[in-house]
């Protein structure tokens, strides 16, 4: 699913966020990216989400070279990805339902289909009863779950989450992580950046640890990317 070959990312300021990172994440796998803040976790996710391009090296998603992907094709590739942000990135001018339905509207689904899938996604995160609420009236944990519902409503192949539990207490964090594990169990590839080491260890998933832009620990079996992984 995701391939990095000697990827280096240097920002215009001169800051080197990633240094010669290589990794393989197979279809249906789930992994955590850990490391201190500034270690390059977000940059790694941004390259996969086509927000940033590598300065050197190659990044591939579904064997599509992200370095050379033309601009007009970016939206279509992003539709295969569900992104969850630490700060939720909800639109506060419209109710929960409309927030979650947005990816389906963008992809041109019919209204009946949109309603069905949106309610299913909201049900999955336990917020079906809040579909008419405005996001501002929800708690932080609820907002994050709306963000997750929006990220999965179009059934992406890949879920990316950047510090999804950053502002939540440990009970809520565990709930959120469990949702990711559930999605992974039905075949979605999941990559979560988190600095919550305790929680990451609890879940017993492979870890990629970054330090100052370098990959210092890689639990993934790099020889076997087919998806039938021994560690699952």
């Amino acid at each position: 699913m995701i391939e990095f070959h000697n990827v280096t990312k240097r920002y215009p300021s001169g800051f080197e966020a990633l240094n010669n990172v290589s990794l393989l994440l197979g279809d249906g796998q789930m992994a955590f990216i850990t490391g201190h803040s500034g270690a390059g976790k977000s940059t790694l996710l941004k390259i996969i989400a086509l927000i940033e391009k590598p300065t050197r090296g190659q990044a591939l998603l579904n064997r599509i070279n992200l370095n050379t992907l033309p601009r007009h094709r970016i939206p279509y590739l992003r539709r295969n990805i569900g992104i969850i942000f630490q700060d939720h990135q909800l639109l506060f001018d419209r109710p929960v339902f409309d927030n979650v339905a947005l990816p389906l509207q963008i992809q041109g689904y019919r209204p009946q289909e949109i309603a069905k899938r949106t309610r299913a996604a909201l049900d999955k995160v336990g917020l079906l009863h809040k579909e008419k609420s405005l996001p501002i009236t929800l708690s932080g944990g609820e907002q994050q779950r709306v963000g997750i519902a929006r990220a999965v409503v179009h059934k992406p192949m890949l879920l990316l989450a950047d510090e999804p539990t950053g502002n939540l207490d440990s009970v809520l964090s565990r709930e959120i992580m469990q949702i990711f594990v559930d999605f992974n169990q039905v075949g979605v590839t999941v990559l979560v950046a988190s600095h919550d080491l305790g929680l990451v260890e609890e879940l017993d998933k492979p870890r990629l640890t970054l330090n100052a832009g370098q990959l210092i620990l890689n639990d993934l079996d790099q020889g076997d990317v087919g998806g039938h992984d021994g560690w699952q």
Partner: protein, 318 residues
């Protein structure tokens, strides 16, 4: 790709109808945005309306002048002042000859005595005229050229009449008309210039409003881009916003001009009474109205297109 078999893409037919559906949704959504921010909208639309009412008003003014001067055009005539030595019998014979000429529709004979009587009555110099020993006015023949006669034929006719020995002076009463037409022509070109300038102003106003709108919805644009919205999808609500601004501005400008028309029509009726004329104010025809609304709508679309092209591509998630 384990995920692929789970993904059911909408069928093509559904996509086409979904495309139109989204267009409709954007149209209504952008109208909803306008409704949600009435103060901004009213100000923008009012500025557009006022801006467009100026060229619109000038256009109507010219249309009215054209209609009035059209009446003058058909009243082109040649006055022949005969030599004082020509007596009335000879003059009436000449009139008969002229009426049979080509391009002459009709003639009217005014004898020296008639002229004097008319002058006495209308000039107010009655007493001074009585002191004159002889009538200084010549016999006059008014020649009305045929309606098919163009300027050139009328000029030709004038020259032929002038060449007649009995004719002292042949005078074409069109010089002032030609001046008027030139002035109207200048005014028409001015209206074209004003229209172009004010259209640009509307373009800028709408462009600026849409630019602010884009800034206000920065977050929404980022989020929709991140979840796979194409540029066209993001562009659409802003373009429709511009369409609404343009259309509403056009309607406002129409209202302003119509109100101006009502304000002027009262005094004009009194003027008509005073001059015993039957000038009628012409207002926007249905066709004018359609052209006005269509062009203001197009201006709105163009203005928002410029703003969107300039600013939307610069917004990328970071």
């Amino acid at each position: 790709m384990a995920g692929n078999n789970r993904r059911r893409k909408p069928a093509t037919a559904n996509r086409v109808s979904a495309y139109f559906l989204h267009n409709l949704q954007s149209l209504i959504f952008s109208l909803g945005k306008i409704y949600q921010a009435p103060a901004t909208t009213i100000m923008t639309v009012a500025v557009i309306g006022i801006t467009l009412s100026l060229p619109g008003g000038f256009y109507l003014f010219l249309k009215n002048i054209d209609a009035v001067s059209g009446d003058f055009r058909s009243s082109t005539q040649i006055s022949l002042y005969l030599d004082l030595k020509v007596n009335e019998k000879k003059a009436r014979g000449l009139e008969k000859h002229i009426v049979s000429m080509d391009h002459v529709a009709s003639t009217q004979f005014i004898s020296r005595e008639q002229s004097l009587e008319e002058f006495r009555q209308s000039s107010g110099f009655g007493k001074s005229i009585d002191t004159l020993s002889s009538n200084p006015l010549p016999h006059t023949i008014i020649v009305e050229p045929g309606e098919s006669a163009d300027t050139f034929t009328v000029r030709n006719l004038l020259n032929r009449l002038q060449a007649m020995p009995e004719v002292e002076i042949a005078k074409l009463d069109t010089e002032w008309l030609e001046r008027l037409y030139t002035i109207i022509e200048i005014a028409k070109r001015s209206v074209v210039i004003i229209t172009i300038l004010f259209s640009f102003a509307v373009l800028l106003i709408i462009g600026n409003t849409i630019r602010l709108d884009i800034q206000n919805r920065y977050q929404e644009i980022i989020v929709t881009k991140l979840i796979g919205a194409t540029d066209a999808f993001i562009r659409r609500p802003f373009l429709y916003g511009g369409v609404w601004y343009g259309m509403l501005g056009g309607i406002i400008s129409w209202l302003i001009v119509e109100i101006g028309y009502i304000a002027i029509s009262g005094p004009l009726e009194r003027l008509n009474l005073l001059y015993k004329s039957d000038m009628n104010l012409i207002t926007y025809s249905f066709q004018d109205f359609i052209v006005l609304i269509a062009s203001s709508t197009l201006l709105g679309l163009a203005g928002s297109w410029i703003a969107v092209a300039r600013h939307l591509n610069q917004i990328e998630p970071t």
